[in-house]
């Protein structure tokens, strides 16, 4: 899903700092993609400018047999992920088109972001997610892509999303087939704040 969250993550990559890696491989560019399945590029690696937090995505999707809808929150947890939330963006997801090209998926969709808002901001949101209350609505209409694979080669149920244009397992999920409810919690890496 990280790749698919182009609008969010593109801005995140453009704005936040890495957690201090002195990369020998001079990464350049940012996750600034413009289509749901478009290519990603390497994250930037600026000099860390502050304490390190963990970006965490928490989402729920409900699949009704023909469409999927749900919500997702993008939260910055302070103190390397062990501290309190410092920033939270929330938004709804609504499928716009079924995807048939996700191998192994029971279902997969393009989904549109709507109703994006800032639920919490101690001043770190813009630097770490690329958005604050004045800009978060720019996420609305962004298309992301996700699929559910119930049995990814011994590693159980996973979320699938395009990475470099190819569907790839990107996170564990839990799924209730009785209700069609899929829950995920996906760490999105360490960032300076």
């Amino acid at each position: 899903m990280r790749t698919a969250w182009i609008g969010v993550l593109g801005a995140v990559m453009a704005c936040n700092g890495d957690d201090g890696g002195s990369d020998a491989t001079d990464d350049t560019g940012a996750d600034t993609t413009t289509s749901p399945t478009s290519e990603t590029t390497s994250p930037p690696t600026p000099t860390p400018t502050g304490p390190v937090g963990l970006l965490l995505r928490t989402g729920t999707l409900v699949w009704d047999g023909s469409a999927a809808a749900g919500t997702e929150s993008l939260t910055l947890l302070g103190d390397s992920g062990y501290g309190a939330a410092r920033c939270t963006l929330t938004y709804q997801l609504q499928s716009t088109e079924a995807r048939a090209d996700c191998e192994g998926c029971d279902w997969a969709f393009d989904l549109a972001i709507a109703g994006a808002s800032v639920a919490l901001d101690d001043g770190s949101c813009l630097a770490t997610t690329g958005y604050d209350a004045t800009t978060v609505s720019a996420l609305d209409g962004t298309i992301v892509s996700m699929g559910y694979n119930p049995d990814y080669v011994g590693h159980a149920e996973v979320l699938m999303s395009p990475v470099d244009g190819m569907w790839q397992a990107v996170s564990y999920v839990s799924y209730d087939p009785a209700t069609g409810t899929l829950d995920y919690e996906w760490e999105d890496g360490f960032v300076s704040y």
Binding site: V12, M13, G21, T25, E39, D151, S174, E187, G189
Partner: protein, 431 residues
């Protein structure tokens, strides 16, 4: 099957060794293994007890050498590291003097095997596993990405780790894990190089990783459940399959005090294991703590933890999350970091690590451009020339970085991932 029979009795090769008796070689037989068409078994007899060496290669070369045979009159040599459908020339030497030569052609690869492509040549070999819905394979690739050894497992469980046997006669791998958790029918499987001999040691609930001890015994991660909490332990597995528990995660941590961050997938979710020969410590990668824990099997305690929720080492620089394999050696810790980098990126991190002082400073990041991401699995090794090798499981890519962190070689499995762990060999006979 290709089969070349030689009934030649020659008295050669001793002219260069004045005064030594001539050796007659007979009953020479070069045979491609039925089960592994890239392995050749060369048998021959000598009329005097000697140790013989076989030099061999493809395309007319004799650039490889198998370990010398024990002193005797009946000799068997297994030629390894050969690509499929290749003309293999061989030369038997006694006291480094050639006494017989011949050639044989390897067979074709079976269908379904995970083939690979590379960005160029590379010395050495890579042992890894490939586990998909289409099949589970143990594979050795050469530096050109050619499959030089293979074995398909049909037990239906995942295969993440394979090691050479301590006695050099083949491979041992774990068939384990179903739907991300313990499998009661997991087992260690031993396969000879020629694939003719396969034995199984059932060990329930084997987890991701194990190590082979010098005496041939195994130390393995297993799943362990207490009061409904899914943790891990370490156990010894003897040659006869006897299992002896050695350590438990409960020896070092309390699930209440250190709960882990992904309870859907167990308390600890230990996913990597190594042994440091210098200290005798075992190192356990605890994914859900983002910690690499040193385990002392004598005291059943954890003298230090590297990173994460159970960390005791003071780290500076980049940190890792949900790491997979690591490598600790000579003041350095390498870590494959699945989730610590921002965005769609996994990476390998190098740290200067002073275990006695309990301090570590991150020095180098190994990451391709553009980035690759593997939310599970992954492996990293320090290479002899100061470079590093990193395996990205999900995309099915193995990368070789130079000492400065620049990518210099890449192997891509054509079918994609996931791959298991990887071992590097300088020659087909390294162990």
């Amino acid at each position: 099957m290709s089969h070349t029979k030689y009934a030649i009795a020659l008295a050669l090769g001793t002219a260069a060794c004045a005064g030594e008796p001539a050796v007659t070689v007979s009953a020479v037989d070069a045979r491609v293994a039925d089960a592994v068409q890239t392995v050749v078994t060369l048998t021959f007899e000598t009329d005097a007890p000697v140790s013989a060496a076989v030099h061999f290669g493809v395309n007319g070369a004799r650039d490889r050498v198998a370990p010398p045979t024990p002193v005797g009159t009946t000799h068997t040599v297994t030629l390894l590291g050969l690509p499929a459908e290749a003309d293999v020339g061989w030369e038997i030497r006694v006291d480094d003097a050639p006494v017989e030569t011949g050639s044989v052609r390897t067979g074709a690869l079976p269908p379904g095997i995970p083939t690979a492509t590379t960005t160029g040549p590379r010395d050495g070999f890579l042992l890894t596993t490939h586990t998909t819905d289409a099949g589970d394979w143990v594979v050795v690739y050469d530096g050109d990405g050619r499959v030089v050894w293979y074995h398909e497992d049909t037990r239906g469980l995942s295969i993440y780790r394979a090691h050479p046997l301590a006695d050099g006669t083949g491979i041992v791998y774990a068939s384990a894990i179903v739907r991300g958790g313990p499998a009661p029918d997991s087992a260690f499987v031993t396969v000879s190089w020629d694939g003719a001999a396969e034995t199984e040691r059932p060990v329930p609930d084997v987890a991701h990783d194990f190590v082979v001890m010098d005496d041939g015994g195994l130390i393995t991660l297993r799943y362990e459940t207490r009061d409904g909490v899914l943790g891990n332990d370490l156990a010894a597995v003897d040659a006869d399959g006897t299992v002896t528990p050695l350590w438990s995660a409960w020896d070092c941590w309390d699930p209440v005090a250190v709960p882990g961050d992904d309870p859907e997938h167990g308390w600890t979710h230990a996913n990597a294991l190594d042994r440091d020969p210098a200290t005798g410590l075992f190192l356990v990668g605890v994914r859900n703590f983002a910690t690499i824990a040193a385990v002392d099997l004598e005291t059943r305690q954890c003298p230090w933890g590297f990173g994460g929720a159970a960390g005791t080492v003071a780290l500076t620089g980049a940190t890792f999350l949900h790491q997979h394999q690591f490598a600790w050696d000579e003041g350095e810790m390498l870590v494959f970091d699945n989730d610590g980098a921002p965005g769609n990126a996994s990476r390998a991190l190098a740290y200067d690590f002073d275990a006695a002082a309990g301090t570590a400073a991150q020095t180098t990041t190994y990451a391709p451009v553009p980035s690759l991401y593997s939310f599970i699995m992954g492996d990293v090794h320090r290479l002899d020339d100061g470079g590093a090798l990193a395996l990205y499981s999900v995309p099915g890519v193995i990368l070789d970085f130079d000492a400065d962190g620049a990518e210099r070689w890449r192997l891509t499995v054509d079918e994609g991932g996931p791959l298991g762990f990887v071992s590097t060999w300088n020659t087909a006979y390294d162990r």
